[in-house]
Amino acid sequence: MPNVKITLDGAQYEVDNKKTILEAAREHKIHIPHFCFHDKLSLSGNCRVCLVEVEKMPKLAIACMTPVAEGMIVNTKNERVINAREAVMEFILINHPLDCPICDEAGECKLQDYAYKYSKGFSRFVDNKNHKEKRVEIGPRVMFDAERCISCSRCIRFCDEIAGVHQLQFVNRGDRVTIETFPGQSLDNPYSMNVVDICPVGALTNKDFRFKSRVWEMSFTDSVCHGCARGCNIEIGVRNNEILRLNPRRNDDVNSVWMCDHGRLETWKNVNAENRIKSSKIRKEGQLVEVGWDEAIAKVASELKSFGKNEIAVLGSAFATNEDNYVLAKFAKEVLGTRNIDFCRHAEGVDDAVLVRADKTPNAAGAELVGIVPQENGMDFHKIISAIKAGKIKALYCLEDDVALMPGIEEALSNLEFFAVHATNHSKTTQYAHVVLAASTYAEKNGTMTNFQKRVQRVRPAVTTFEQDRALDNFEMSRWDKFAAHNDKWGKGPRRDARPSWKIIASIAGVMGTKYKFNNADDVFNEICQKIDGFKGLSYLKVGVKGAIVKQNHVAV
């Protein structure tokens, strides 16, 4: 990699000669403002706010498109640059409406930040601003406000280059320029909502999140999307203990900076949903009745004891964390003594070219790795189902998964003498359950998921359950969360009496006579790291925010 020496703001650096001035400056923590530049998109060079002075060049140059060269002397902060930058900002702001109070982007707006940092702070423009259409449904999930657009073309380039469909286009000229779709078409590609994230202003906004909350009132927790086996890194935005939106989080090895619309909109709605299971339930006279944890756990323990080893089957879940599946496998082998352990796979269709995987579960690889596989002479998922139908297997213990959605399974479930299920929401499966144990969703517990690359990634709790406290349990906190008193209405929000699955299983094991010494998810993960080869040497600290690859394709038996 041939390097060149350049001088940036008086300091000498050696940088790769393929880089532009902006990238070189970025590498050395010198911020050059930019609107149209995005490191995952092609260069456009139309916003002109990244102007810098390169000595011996007659005019100022745009940092995003000027490649570095040997001996180049660049000034990013001198008077000439600052004046030019202020002039560019003034031009951009001439027709930008003063919409900040009603704009969803306010608080995370590049233009707002730059107007504060790099602008004069007042306008010399006395004429009326140019008016355009304000509420355009440019796509089924995206709203467009033409007045706010600063014509940076990021969204157009995103559709062309990342989503792979040419759906957006500039039309008209001068101050009447705007973006449009072809008549009769809309911005409806499966990645369309990424344009909301990359829009440097509030021109493109999320229809689902529209006006729900100001961003500064929310807390953002790093987590992992559980829409498919990709495991896109996300931030969970929460206010009043309710999830309001998901944002992609940069991880160049997994999802770059994108995520699909399905993951962004559909994967968290169950957390706030009406049909959430608020506490554990036992079937009494055909009805599911809410009971306390002790009663539910005692019921499961006594029922499981009444069946023989070969009459019980255990289903893990590709939706549950590694920790949940590991403790379940351990419980099945050590306490129940069953060899019939497996989980239900949910592969549909094919992988797409961008992010979405055919496997629609976040942790199929992890479930296998931590021991949710049929033991010697044990039955796999399909054999378990046919054995239930044949009456050979009488009791089924199932982790968080709506197995009844698989064809032909409902018949088998109705045949069971005892069916215990961990569930987050009422579903087809819970209709057949004798005991429903209220499990925490992925947004309410600590744990790890293993994606299709065998990358172990952390999920962190963003929503509190009964047994958690935002301050004491190290949650991300918004200003409201920090200062809420017990009698304040805000900061409370709905909570449920759910527990992480590994904890429920450990309590059942305890009642059945085997004590597990797990106090928190860290303890479970540390044991996984000791017992399972692929995980050796890992810890929550090493997994960190970007995840860590499991070393080999080892499958624990």
Binding site: C100, I102, R135, R210, F211, D488
Partner: protein, 171 residues
């Protein structure tokens, strides 16, 4: 020796500089009564509070209210008042409206047990939608009662004109 010193310190020194008139006492009493009697003929300074209300200057900061104009609140639910409120008394939930202003407060609540009448909400408001009124009679019998919703907060712009004029003049 120590005892002698203590004795010296504890000696009380009487200042005998009162004049004869003062020492006579009765003249002083009369002087005082004359001063008090003079007040009877001056205009009254106090008011009979619950029956007679205090009239404020427009600069008085009573409880915050929302300005209503043409049947709708001016507020666009931007949330700046909630952000700036040092006592975190304000809660706003925005929603979409067909009107040109696009958003309106679906819920706007001020917890009056938290409010400290600082007037920051009024100062930060980009729409002149939340302003300080002249109402100061705030007593509640429960905490629930102290949370003022839109029903109690909305006041028409005509009623609030003195304050709005004051704000214009002193902007």
């Amino acid at each position: 020796m120590n005892d002698d010193k203590l004795l010296e310190k504890s000696e009380v020194i009487r200042v005998k500089d009162l004049s004869f008139m003062q020492r006579a006492y009765v003249f002083e009493i009369l002087k005082g009564m004359f001063k008090a009697a003079k007040q009877i003929f001056k205009p009254t300074f106090t008011i009979e509070y619950p029956e007679v209300k205090f009239e404020h200057a427009a600069s008085f900061r009573g409880r915050p209210v929302l300005v209503e104009e043409n049947g709708v609140e001016r507020c666009v639910a931007c949330g700046l008042c909630a952000r700036v409120c040092p006592a975190l008394a304000i809660e706003v939930q925005a929603a979409e409206t067909e009107l040109a202003k696009e958003r309106y407060p679906e819920k706007f609540e001020i917890n009056m047990t938290r409010c400290i009448f600082c007037g920051f909400c009024e100062e930060v408001c980009p729409e002149e939608a939340i302003i300080m009124s002249n109402e100061y009679e705030l007593a509640f019998s429960s905490q629930q009662e102290s949370i003022f919703g839109k029903d109690k907060l909305l006041k028409s712009a005509e009623i609030m004109k003195p304050r709005l004029d004051f704000l214009r003049d002193h902007r």
